[in-house]
């Protein structure tokens, strides 16, 4: 970026196209929510996303939860749906950056906030409502211990309008460490225990009402389409759905077989041409509604590693057990480790039920944690949920790049032919800006991966 007064103004104009320049700082202990301006220096130094989250995490000590977006979130870049949650994971015992896709990133940005810092702990169960550049704290006691679909239904019916929500399930209310945060009722890639951290702060949900907008590069709206056309013309563009991603993973093909006979519909996140999620319809018996009664349901599958871990353990019963994990806000991988090999469905259901005691501490011992697969350390750094799509030698760097810029990590992993420059041209096509960014990014990636 150009230095000096005029250069700074130019930079500011550029930043304002991509950011609202607002940080929301919430202190739950004091029940206060203030807006702090985002400084241009912060963007120049950290660009955005996970790296800027990390600097805020160290700035506001006292173990905050930091949610943030990258510069490209919501823009014309394909798969620009990312919201990054940075926090200290009690499971992996280090700082983690967890991606949230679907529409959470754009909805947060269009709600007027680029970064949200949550400190302290509330005295009663609360939720945060982000709308038009402000953050409000509301009580949420009526949502305690409800299954996640009931939470979203109650919020839609009785609360203010919202576009996306990050909620915790009843597992978090019971204090289970492996509780995961879910986007609406659809789940997420969080295996680092964000929900348990939110529960420790007495935070039930964060709602975004994204009705605003930013200009990004409206002078070149076809840029995203051109990139998509370019990559779809190539041979490896055949990604259609959850099972196609599974086939790229070790042992994923067998896990995908359980979905064969079901009615499926592929879904994609914000502005993404490569659908990696599938909605399936299923029928299962629900003993709670009477002997032999059939329940028809549907769920969205987006957690590839969780599905594989659970499928390996329980075989054909994976779908209803996965559904239960989604409804309770539990990480399927941890649950898979808790279940016994070669048991029956009834035994497994009973084991899961035992994880939610009526009183006393939760039964899942802290030693049950996702072991993580290759590539090991970086896998848990990014929450343990991003699928280990090969090639694994660049996995860490690609994911780190995506987390800084605000693009879905799975998209960048699926399309290695998309270069860093391709993405940076969505910010600006000026030579000097590109050069500055390209010089800055490698050191940022290194800082990120060094944790």
């Amino acid at each position: 970026m150009a230095e000096g007064g005029a250069g700074r103004k130019q930079n500011m104009n550029l930043f304002q196209q991509f950011f609202n320049m607002r940080i929301g700082v919430v202190d739950l202990s004091a029940s206060s929510a203030v807006i702090v301006p985002l400084e241009a220096d912060q963007i120049s130094s950290y660009i955005g996303g996970a790296t800027l989250n990390r600097s805020l995490f160290h700035q506001y000590q006292d173990d905050p939860l930091v949610f943030g977006v990258g510069p490209l979130t919501g823009s014309f870049a394909p798969a620009s749906s990312l919201l990054v949650a940075t926090f200290y994971s009690p499971l992996f015992e280090k700082i983690c950056h967890v991606p949230f896709m679907l529409r959470t990133g754009p909805d947060m940005k269009f709600s007027g906030i680029d970064f949200l810092v949550v400190k302290g702990a509330a005295s009663e169960l609360s939720l945060l409502y982000v709308d038009s550049g402000t953050v409000q704290i509301f009580p949420a006691g009526n949502l305690r211990k409800l299954p996640i679909p009931d939470i979203t239904r109650a919020l839609k019916r009785d609360f203010l309008p919202f576009q996306s929500a990050i909620v915790t399930g009843p597992a978090a209310d019971h204090g289970i460490l492996q509780a995961t945060a879910s986007v609406g009722a659809r789940g997420s890639l969080d295996k680092a225990g964000l929900a348990s951290r939110m529960a420790a702060k007495n935070l039930k949900a964060i709602l975004f009402n994204g009705i605003g907008g930013l200009s990004f590069r409206t002078d070149n709206p076809d840029q995203g389409k051109e990139l998509i056309t370019r990559i779809s013309a190539e041979k490896n563009f055949s990604h259609r759905g959850f099972t196609s991603i599974l086939t790229k993973l070790d042992g994923g093909k067998a896990a995908g077989k359980h979905l064969r006979k079901l009615r499926k519909k592929n879904m994609a996140c914000y502005h993404c041409p490569a659908q990696c999620m599938t909605h399936v319809e299923f029928i299962r018996q629900d003993a709670s509604q009477g002997e032999g009664s059939i329940v028809k349901g549907g769920l969205l599958l987006l957690d590839h590693t969780g599905w594989m871990a659970l499928a390996k353990k329980v075989g054909t019963h994976v779908l209803p057990l996965f559904h239960i994990c989604l409804q309770s806000g539990l990480d399927p991988e941890s649950v898979a480790q808790r279940l016994s090999d070669g048991g029956t469905m009834i035994e497994w259901l009973f084991a899961i039920e035992k994880m939610f005691p009526e009183s006393g501490k939760a039964q899942i011992a802290e030693s049950y944690r996702p072991t993580g697969e290759a590539p090991g350390k970086t896998h848990t750094l990014f929450g343990g949920g991003i699928a280990p799509i090969p090639p694994s030698d660049v996995w860490g760097k690609r994911v780190a790049l995506s987390m800084i810029l605000g693009i879905c990590p799975l998209f960048l992993l699926l399309f290695p032919q998309i270069s860093e420059t391709d993405l940076l041209t969505f910010i600006s096509q000026r030579e000097d800006v590109l050069k500055t960014l390209e010089d800055r990014i490698p050191s940022l990636i290194q800082t990120l991966l060094a944790d």
Partner: protein, 441 residues
């Protein structure tokens, strides 16, 4: 609290008020000559929900046209998702043939242009939102920021959403162009008229003239009832027509019957229909006429109905070598004039030949289906308007339900299939359960 004070209406001796009709008169709808025969085909955006993945790119791009920013909440289209059923749909203005938002706007800000696009004139729009209230799909959207009403205007001919949809779920099309069934049908009707009425006189009837005979099944039944004998040649040629009906429904009624041809011609010159009183409108009447014809033949000993049958009269009396019996001549125009009340009312309510073919059609091999999911529902309904026997339930199409078409009533003219621009009306075998637009796994 102060006392209740009544408001005084300013007294008005003279009425200076202008109303909206003076300032913005409603344009008179003109029907052009060419528009009568070939209704205009306008372009529109067609949405295929099976391909949609709910990515929201259409919303994002559309908003760049309404505002200078990317703000999906300010778009003219809305992506609705049902998390439980896993379905996505993009709600956008369908540019209906008869838009409901148009009469609802209090300031007449909405107009349907000559290019078929329904536009909101921002100069007159007060953003009251009554257009959204009137639209069955609630397509005009209120911007939550500046409260403007955003409605799709097809980007004046080059829609952005169509260009950017990664799955090609949105297409910009004018619909099917060439209506070939219409030309084929009129040709065959004309040829059949010429052959049956002018050239080979009286061939379609029991009365045999010349060497060619094509016996009417109703006439055959009456003959059997009145004379008690079965003549194999006529019975087998009547059977030919019944076999045609088993294969293709009441194709005879729509394509071959010369009286049907006369009725279609009368229909063309009497576009304004007067309508029947409802107690006369029972489709079972024709079965009663059929029963009466057979019973009467049995009782009277000669073919009772054949003497007054308009098809028979037409075939026998109007040809080149026929003898013009004046009484018989009157039957055809008299019964053809029923057309003024409702299209093909003879075929719907009175014709015993049609009744017998209808009974045979219960064994039909094929059926016509209309897939409501592919069709444009309340914004189109051309099939229901164009059906001459009125068996397509427009109400069901508006609700989005695929109507069940009774093939015993359908005369297989295939006007619906010809007219539907979206390939929603199709012919299927009777055992095929799937309708166009629905995937059954």
């Amino acid at each position: 609290m102060s006392e209740h004070v009544t408001m005084q209406e300013p007294s008005a001796e003279q009425d200076f008020s202008l109303n909206l009709d003076d300032l913005r008169p409603r344009p008179v709808e003109k029907r052009t000559f060419s528009g009568y025969f070939m209704p205009p085909r306008h372009s529109f955006v067609l949405f295929d929900p099976d391909k949609c993945t709910g990515c929201g790119t259409c919303e994002m791009i559309c908003s760049t046209r309404n505002t200078e920013k990317v703000a999906p909440a300010s778009a003219s289209v809305k992506v609705v998702t049902d998390e439980k059923l896993g379905k996505n749909f993009t709600i956008l203005c369908q540019h209906c043939r008869k838009p409901l938002c148009l009469p609802a706007c209090p300031t007449r800000a909405i107009e349907k242009g000559n290019d078929g696009i329904v536009r909101i004139n921002k100069l007159f729009c007060t953003e009251c939102g009554l257009c959204t209230m009137a639209c069955p799909a609630a397509a005009p959207l209120k911007d939550p920021g500046n409260q403007e009403i955003h409605k799709c205007d097809l980007c004046e001919g080059d829609p952005l959403c169509v260009r950017h949809c990664p799955e090609k779920a949105l297409t910009f099309t004018r619909g099917k162009a060439f209506r070939w069934i219409k030309g084929l049908r009129w040709t065959i009707q004309l040829v059949s008229f010429l052959l049956l009425v002018i050239v080979f006189i009286g061939t379609f009837c029991y009365f045999k003239t010349g060497s060619v005979s094509f016996a009417c099944p109703t006439g055959t039944l009456q003959n059997i009832a009145s004379s008690g004998t079965i003549v194999l040649v006529s019975a087998s040629s009547a059977l030919a027509l019944l076999i045609l009906t088993i294969l293709a429904g009441r194709l005879f009624c729509g394509w071959i019957c010369p009286f049907g041809f006369v009725l279609d011609l009368v229909d063309k010159i009497t576009p304004k229909k007067l309508g029947w009183p409802s107690f006369l409108k029972s489709r079972m009447t024709k079965y009663g006429v059929l029963a009466g014809a057979i019973g009467g033949s049995y009782a009277l000993g000669f073919q009772a109905f054949c003497t007054i049958c308009p098809i028979g009269t037409l075939c026998r009396s109007y040809g080149v070598q026929s003898f013009f019996k004046s009484a018989e001549l009157a039957i055809v125009p008299a019964l053809a004039s029923l057309e003024i009340a409702q299209r093909r009312s003879w075929c719907r309510y009175f014709c015993p030949v049609g009744a017998l073919l209808g009974i045979t059609a219960t064994l039909r091999l094929i059926k016509i289906v209309i897939g409501a999911k592919r069709c444009k529902k309340f914004s189109c309904i051309q099939c229901a308007e164009v059906c001459p026997v009125g068996i397509i339930e427009a109400d069901q199409l508006r609700e989005g339900i695929s109507p069940k078409i009774p093939m015993t009533e359908c005369i297989m003219c295939m006007r619906c299939i010809d007219r539907c621009p979206y390939d929603a009306a199709k012919i299927r075998f009777r055992w095929q359960k799937a309708v166009p637009g629905e995937n059954r796994t």
